[in-house]
């Protein structure tokens, strides 16, 4: 559905998007994740044909958006950042104007307007003046507008900002439901959002894609080696020695004295981090050692990474470099 080939967008002062290439298949829900200023909005604008790339090419449904801009636009529903609207218009008026603008034939206009109003929960405000609506309604109206011409591709820039938790859930479900028929590309800085909706996530930083995969795989990649944290009271050197011999353990790291001050009973409480092969669970073996040696053991846990960790790791490290 989307094919981006070596796209760079340079502004007078900075490079917003640097040599990005990717493909999005029909029916996929893809998220672009990144800190503020990572180039997400610029990329969305490039996809939506608002901006032209400095270098490289963008194809929507096989059409070069630069050469066949109008044909490409007919296939795209675009929700810009901040969902701009005309505050002096009424909801119905606005939708009708946008429907006309998007070339929906007169007979189908009413019908389409009703459909998107129901879909986005706008029925009870259809006669209201946009400027008087809450932010949440405004965003839903902009979303309704982006859907009105039944686009094949939906480009959403920060669709959830300004919505309350109930509305977020509603929009999430709506996107999920649409995702069966429509390709969805969304930019967000909310990890929970990306994790909940997207089948594939691109993490962006400084105008580049630094990682791309499904949320689960991204988490897996970061973990690489699984690690286990254990808190054991025993002579540290000996404990390290013993643990190292457990099969599947790659590294043993003495993290330091026990985290809490509860270890008054024994001065030997220490916290250890064990790096181990993925796919092996060494916890029973660690427990066995502790039991046979008579060392008290009070914590034994697998460290679980979340998308947030991946995000912070990737964006922070690239940021420094």
């Amino acid at each position: 559905m989307i094919k981006v080939e070596h796209v760079t967008k340079r502004f007078a002062s900075a490079v917003a998007v640097a040599d990005i290439s990717f493909e999005v298949l029909r029916g996929e829900i893809v998220g672009f994740l990144g800190p503020n200023g990572a180039g997400k909005t610029t990329l969305m604008r490039l996809l939506a044909t608002y901006l032209a790339p400095t270098q490289g090419r963008v194809f929507i449904d096989g059409l070069d958006v630069f050469l066949h801009s109008l044909d490409a636009r007919r296939r795209i529903g675009y929700l810009p950042e901040n969902a701009p609207l005309y505050p002096e218009m009424r909801v119905d008026e606005y939708l009708s104007f946008r429907a006309k603008l998007k070339g929906i034939p007169r007979r189908k206009r009413r019908e389409r307007m009703e459909e998107v109003k129901v879909l986005c929960g706008l029925k009870d405000v259809e006669r209201c003046i946009i400027g008087q609506l809450s932010k949440g309604y405004g965003r839903r109206l902009a979303l309704a507008d982006s859907l009105i011409h039944s686009p094949e591709l939906l480009i959403l820039d920060e669709p959830m900002v300004g919505l309350d938790p109930n509305q977020i859930r509603a929009v999430r479900e709506l996107i999920g439901a649409l995702g069966r028929r429509v390709t969805v590309v969304l930019a967000t800085h909310s990890l929970a959002e990306a994790e909940a909706i997207c089948q594939r996530v691109f993490i962006m930083n400084h105008g580049r894609i630094v990682a791309s995969d499904s949320p689960e795989h991204l988490v897996g990649q970061l973990q690489g080696n699984v690690s286990v944290v254990a808190e054991i009271a025993g002579p540290p050197d000996e404990v390290v020695e013993r643990l190292r011999c457990v099969s599947g353990v790659l590294t043993v790291q003495l993290v330091g004295p026990a985290a809490s001050g509860l270890g008054r009973g024994s001065a030997l409480w220490r916290r250890y981090r064990l790096g181990c092969h993925p796919g092996t669970d060494i916890r029973p073996a660690v427990f066995g050692i502790a039991a046979t040696q008579g060392w008290p053991l009070r914590e034994l846990s697998l460290e679980v990474f979340e998308l947030e960790d991946v995000f912070i790791k990737l964006t922070a490290s690239v940021g420094r470099g």
Binding site: F11, A12, Y50, L51, Y78, E81, P84, R98, K102, D145
Partner: protein, 227 residues
Amino acid sequence: MAYVIMVAFLVVAGLSFCRPLGQHLGEQIGIGELLFGAPYFWVAVLAVIALITMPLFAEERRTGTLEMLLTAPVTDLQVVLGKYAGALVFFLLMTTPTAAYFILLKAVAPGMAALDWTPIFTGYLSLWLIGSCFIAIGMFVSALTRSQVVAAVGCFVAVSILFFMDTVRLVLPGAAVQAALTYLSSTQHVQDFAQGVVDTRPIVFYLSLTVFFVFATVKAIEARQWK
């Protein structure tokens, strides 16, 4: 806001029509010059054009709706022409009620020597020609900025210079320069038209300027892609 501008304009136009009427009571004066020869009237026209055109693109740029507009399946030219047509129609609607002055004058003073309609028509022709040209200029200025105030001031300055070009003549030396400026000055054109003299040169001048600035606006809008 549109109604406010319209009413304000008609008040100023009405006053400027009454003034010479009172002054020249009992004298001979070209009927067209009553309205179209009054500088107050033209200052009001220029101000109103600045007000009509200032939000056209500046406001959309500021609020971000321009992005919605330009990603819809319409060309930049269509957007520009649509905006231009909207402003022009408003301008025509706003200026036509002034025709009532002449009709009223005729009704109130039936004794007046046969009212000559020709200079009135040519006066309107000059008003609409200059209006359509200056609206294009105002639209272009509006497309360059995201501030409505900057757009309004920029437009007002630009069209005032163009309109009162023969005043600029007074401070610039050189006979050739002065002649050229007089030739370009709208005040000169207006006076000719108000006397019922139709010259095709100013018509071509204004129409070509209009086309040029509509084209320049399209380019200014397209420039977002290259910046």
